[in-house]
Amino acid sequence: MRRVSAGIRRPTTWLAVAVLAVLVVLVALPLQGLVAATLRPDAIGSWTDVLASPLSANLFWEPLRNSLVVGLATGLIASLLGAFLAWVVVMSDVPGRRVIGVLATIPFALPSFAIALAWESVFRNERLGGNPGVLASLGIAVPDILSWGMVPITLTLVAHYYSLSFVVVAAALSNVGGDLLAAAELTGASRMRIAGRIALPVVAPAILSGFLLAFAEGVSNFAVPALLGLPVRFQTLSTRLYGSISTGDTERGYVLSILLVVIAALVLWVGNRFTAGKSFATITGKSSRPRRANTGPWKWVLFALSVALVTATTIVPGIVLAVSTVLRRTNSFEAGLTLHYWIGESDPSIAQGMRGVLRDPIALDALVSTVALGFAVALGATLVGLVGAYVVGRLKRARVVGGSISLLSYVPFLIPGIAFGAAFIAQFGAPIGPLPSLYGTFAILVIAGIAASLPFAFQTSRSALGQVSGDLEEAAVIAGAGTARRLRRIVFPLASRGIVSGGILVFVTMVRDLSLVVLLVTPATPLLSVMTYRYASEGFTQSANAITLVIAIVSVAATLLARRLQGAGQPWSNA
């Protein structure tokens, strides 16, 4: 909506070229490799297999429907909850909102399966045998619909991903000038109404970003639908995709993945249409102070709701996870508790002589390189995402360029990590000209990580930048500041809440996620996520969960640290 000035547009062209080049290398080429792989003569049949064959109903259409329902429901409910909580934390006077705000960022740092396990530990029914959940063991018959399939999958994903929305929307809300809300208060509108009609719509681009992220994560998540869906043969594109690749039908998996990218592109397009490319400048050249809503007696209702939400999504899964690491026996109290999996010396009678994770000599190494990787990727992805979002925001008229940047920055979630990894091996596996091969170095992990986590960085930056009114940057243009300088000194500091939030999300996914790096890691750079994978694949659930907990703690610590540093660096916004 905002006028973009000519002065800003021009140098932006160069940035656009640079960003596009980076995106082409990091995303488009891997994607193109994916497409090419499915077009080879021996693979082209995969297209008809998927789209028009007796298999397609079960291979594609049915999973597609399920994925869309799950993805959209996840996106919508997560946005709703995330936005609600963001409002409570940023704009209301609900007691304990700071703590609620910290807790609300944790679900994302927990692995989705931990949340699924938490769900199971309550709602699991007899269908699978084994140990029933709490309800079933109390003799309450839990219908399949609550135990397995669409409902638990969606709710679990929501519990996991609403914190994406929360983080993005909270950052945006904290930038809304107080006068906008004050003006609404004077109309006599209730707090809820102001929240629903003024505060949240003004940050619609952030809500859209949160939705897009939750949607993409929702459709690409494999662990949760596999855990909770398969028992009732509820298949999604992600389970089909994963299955195809792991049973050796790689091309079919790639076709599914390409179709997923296409669908995501459509959702992105529709989403952007929905807000019609709008961004609402809430950080303007006439300053006004932030404003908090006085919620009166509603305070306690909001408090109860918020606490219930974060308890269900953070504290319960966190406890489930933590407890699972001290259970002598996986998921069962019967054999008692032990700290063995944390600090035990090798004991042949337990877990095939596995040491406690804190005694694993590579654990510390892994911790260090994980944090280093997370940090490097967060920095790199944030930079690329920020510049990309900046360019898209300023080049409103260059639809094709802007659209390409948006799309390329959005789809990395949907490209299977294994395909990404293979593409990076293909691109960087051999020396390029005079440059040595990056393969096997820390650098390639960083590059791959950047590619994979661009969606967070891009979407969060996009919504944050949109809030900075154009005249602020124009004033810097007039002062003679070049693009880089403006970005560094004006645009970045003003949008920093959103940008830093994106960086945190990137960091968290990077320390937690495995799928991409697994093809690229070398023993020289051990990573925590690889350790969990190793433990889990051997059935050492407690040890795997212990590392997972360490990852979650690292993530939360990083989040808190980033917030603190940011707060200290922003004296102007401490109302």
């Binding site: 000038g177 209730s190 003004v202």
Partner: protein, 351 residues
């Protein structure tokens, strides 16, 4: 009917005091204009009236009801005070079109769709922004935004209207038209309005009462004519009027005000510093004058000329019938006796 009482109202921001103890009574139906230099506390006062800022001290009463009490911290929330405010920063909702910006408050006030439609059309026309109804705030000019802000505020006809420099970005013609509309709205609701402006013509045209503020204090409060005719302090005298009164400082002794090389008749006077006030239209220019005057600028106004210049360090504006070239020098011819005298503490000295 809402009389508004400020009772030793004060506001601190962190260490600094924006408003000292201000006590004022705005009768019901009054149109009160707050005048004062930049940063004197006008916006702060308005925001406290609106309930957007909590007073640090003192109380605000609407009629008999205490709406804010800085001593106990109690206060009626803004949305319960039933008032409208035009913000200095406009505060238009950027995600709503011009029409929706105006319509939404009516919707909140539960107006029927037909009434809303009619009223929105009416205020759009009243402010000359009908053609912009479907644009968004970012797509219209500064003055147009300001008019939308006014339209939004008056549409619901609130009983108490607060205006923070509502016409500052409008051209002279539009300003005259719009202030007539505002006066009309004020009369129609029968409510009380508080209005901040830097435009004295506007202030004089609209006000039933003017409060002249300075550094967080009220220097004088009363009907416009009273302030113009009988300024209580030198500051009020030097601030009000277009151009404001001529003030000349010096030391009084024995009926004379001594001032670099000249002696002016003043009725009262012991050996203390005084300021003599003269009306600009009473001061003449000519070689026979007693005080040196260096002309800085000369602008036409109301068929005459306002000549501003420096007389021995004092900035003085007088009125002449013919233009005087900037950069020239002349002398000020003063009337026999000054219109008023102000003492060292700036307050009026009764002769």
């Amino acid at each position: 009917m809402t009389a508004i009482t400020l009772d030793r109202l004060g506001k601190d921001f962190g260490g600094s005091t924006a408003l000292h103890e201000v006590s004022l009574e705005f009768p019901s139906g009054a149109f009160v204009v707050l005048l004062g230099p930049s940063g004197c506390g006008k916006t702060t006062t308005l925001r406290m009236l609106a309930g957007l800022e909590e007073p640090t001290r003192g109380r605000i009463r609407f009629g008999d009801r205490v709406v804010a009490n800085g001593d106990t911290g109690e206060s009626v929330p803004a949305e319960k005070r039933g008032l409208g405010m035009v913000f200095q920063s406009y505060a238009l909702w950027p995600h709503m079109s011009v029409r929706t910006n105006i319509d939404w408050p009516l919707r909140v006030a539960r107006w029927s769709a037909a009434d809303r439609q009619a009223r929105v059309t009416e205020v759009l026309a009243m402010l000359g922004i009908t053609a912009l109804a479907d644009r968004y705030p970012a797509e219209i000019s500064g003055g147009q935004q300001q008019r939308v802000a006014i339209a939004r505020t008056i549409a619901a006809r609130p009983q108490v209207l607060l205006f923070d420099e509502p016409l500052s970005n409008l051209d002279a013609r539009l300003r005259v038209d719009t202030r007539a509309e505002l006066a009309q709205v004020h009369r129609a609701t029968g409510g009380t309005s508080v209005y901040v402006t830097h435009d004295q013509v506007e202030a004089l045209a609209l006000a039933t009462h003017i409060a002249v503020m300075r550094d967080g204090r009220v220097e004088q409060f009363g009907p416009p004519a009273e302030l113009l005719e009988h300024p209580a302090t030198a500051f009020v005298a030097s601030f009000l009027g277009t151009p404001p009164a001529v003030l000349l400082a010096g030391e009084a002794s024995g009926g004379w005000l001594r001032r670099s090389g000249a002696e002016l008749t003043v009725a009262s006077g012991e050996g203390r510093p005084l300021k003599a006030m003269y009306r600009p239209q009473d001061v003449g220019l000519g070689p026979s004058g007693c005080l040196q005057f260096d002309v800085v600028e000369c602008t036409p106004l109301a068929g005459r000329y306002v000549v501003s210049g420096l007389s021995d360090g004092d900035r003085v504006s007088i009125i002449t019938e013919t233009p005087v070239a900037a950069g020239t020098s002349s002398r000020l011819i003063l009337p026999e006796t000054p219109a008023a005298l102000f003492g060292a503490d700036d307050t009026r000295v009764t002769a």
